[in-house]
């Protein structure tokens, strides 16, 4: 008898530049899920382009994606914990790449909807929320990202949460949780943050 292991497919969605690829890149990095070569390659490219280590490059493999700092097409990456196997699906946030976002999301059983704490709810945050509801994805977690930009303010976090919750309720999406994170600094990504005490 082979040991049964559960696989969960999760798509990461949300508005452009709100940090979807960075969330995934940081998660893979912090959990040491990446081969050496992948990290070395990103370090080399980041150095060439004069940027700090760009976690998103771990997913955004195309030259066009790295040069423009955007995700064009969806990608999938495997990730394992003691508990189960995961397929993590990255999705682009630009409206013109919506068909790629849908291609990714159609495969998922759960979703992380990423919102920039500083910018708040934007057009694609809503549109992606709506597509999740159309696709029947019930397990939705909202990540309020870039908490570092608002000094980990609980008040602002609750404002974003309230805005998004009002909208999502109107389309019958009831998120499991709202989680404040800073993907760039790894707060509440692989480990519980000491800064965000507001979950």
């Amino acid at each position: 008898m082979l040991k049964f292991r559960e696989t969960l497919k999760i798509v990461v969605v949300g508005h452009v530049d709100h940090g979807k690829s960075t969330v995934i890149g940081r998660l893979l990095y912090d959990t040491k899920s990446l081969p050496e070569g992948a990290i070395e390659k990103v370090k080399r490219i980041s150095k060439e382009t004069g940027k700090p280590f760009e976690y998103a490059y771990l997913l955004d493999a195309f030259e066009e994606e790295q040069k423009q700092g955007i995700t064009i097409d969806t990608t999938q990456i495997q990730f394992h914990t003691k508990k189960r196997d995961y397929v993590i699906i990255d999705a682009p946030g630009h409206v013109e790449f919506l068909k790629n976002m849908i291609s990714g999301a159609a495969n998922a059983e759960a979703a992380l909807l990423v919102i920039d704490a500083n910018e708040g709810v934007r057009e694609q945050s809503k549109r992606h929320g709506y597509i999740l509801s159309l696709l029947g994805i019930k397990k939705v977690y909202v990540l309020v990202n870039k908490m570092d930009l608002i000094d980990y303010s609980e008040e602002k976090f609750l404002d974003v949460k309230s805005d998004m919750d009002t909208f999502l309720k109107s389309i019958n999406v009831f998120p499991q949780k709202y989680i404040p994170v800073s993907a760039f600094y790894g707060e509440n990504i692989a480990l519980r943050s000491k800064k965000n005490a507001v979950v």
Binding site: L2, F4, R5, T7, K32, P35, E36, G37, A38, K41, R44, I45, E48, A61, F62, E63, E64, I72, D73, T74, T75, Q76, I77, Q78, D85, V87, K99, N100, I102, S103, A106, N107
Partner: protein, 266 residues
């Protein structure tokens, strides 16, 4: 359902969809572990008989054991095998010393293009996997190429659930990727489960083994003592090294594989 059962079922479904969709269909067989697993899946999908030809693009620089294994398996499985070499390029002195990417393009991409033109293939089944490399991770399961085999990777069609795009202008073809969602570890666990013969080069001798196979000059061995399928599985569960670390052409340029694949490379 067990993970390997699920992957196998999906791959067989894709192979049958491809067979249903395309008049002229072929499968690329590189003699490596992935396309050898795919060959096994094709035998399962069509009850022991593969109803399409297999294509080996022979650069003439392959490791000799690969060619011996190819001929042995082709005979045993009674395969309809097309072996093609771009002799024009070889006779003009093409080799890795002319530049690795130039050589890959001439002896693999161009050679494949000649085969497509000659046999008028509408569908080509290719054993690429997402976890191998970045541009492959962004692939569709049914992925269109134009007359020159170019991949318009910044504008791929949507692919929802098991609905695949199978209509395309005449002259174009579709690359079908049945094992896109398999990982390297899945491949080896499946080889173990099904007892699939693979070329000996993967098993360690004197502390070295090949983890990924290609042309002799551009493929390096890794340090390893894994000399059985079980030992390879154990090694892969703990390794932190990239599968294609021994493939020299990948390192020629930060976007080497993307550039090769844009022009029709596998």
């Amino acid at each position: 359902m067990d993970r390997l059962d699920m992957l196998e079922a999906q791959s067989i479904y894709i192979l049958r969809e491809a067979y249903k969709s395309f008049g002229k269909l072929g499968m690329l067989w590189s003699i490596g572990k992935d396309s050898t697993v795919m060959l096994w899946l094709a035998k399962k999908a069509f009850f022991g008989h593969c109803p399409f030809p297999f294509i080996h693009i022979d650069t003439t620089y392959k490791i000799p054991e690969m060619i011996r294994f190819r001929d042995k398996i082709a005979k045993e499985y009674n395969l309809d095998l097309i072996v093609y070499t771009n002799w024009d390029a070889i006779n003009n002195g093409m080799g890795p010393e002319k530049g690795r990417l130039v050589c890959c393009k001439a002896l693999k991409t161009d050679a494949l293009q000649h085969v497509i033109d000659k046999y008028k293939f509408e569908g080509l089944i290719v054993g690429v996997r997402r976890d191998e490399e970045g541009s492959r991770s962004k692939e569709r399961i049914f992925s269109e190429r134009n007359k020159e085999s170019e991949w318009n990777y910044t504008n791929q069609p949507p692919e929802l659930w098991d609905q695949f795009k199978t209509d395309f202008p005449k002259g174009n073809h579709i690359r079908v990727h049945p094992i896109l969602n398999w990982t390297e570890l899945d491949i080896w666990e499946y080889i173990k489960r099904e007892n699939i013969p693979v070329v000996d080069l993967y098993f360690a001798k004197n502390g070295k083994r090949y983890r990924s196979l290609g042309c002799a000059q551009c493929t390096g061995q890794i340090d390893s003592n894994a000399s059985t399928v079980d030992e390879i599985i154990e090694e892969l569960k703990h390794t932190n090294i990239n599968e294609r670390a021994g493939r020299a052409q990948d390192k020629e340029d930060a976007y080497a594989m993307q550039k090769l694949r844009k022009d029709g490379y596998m």
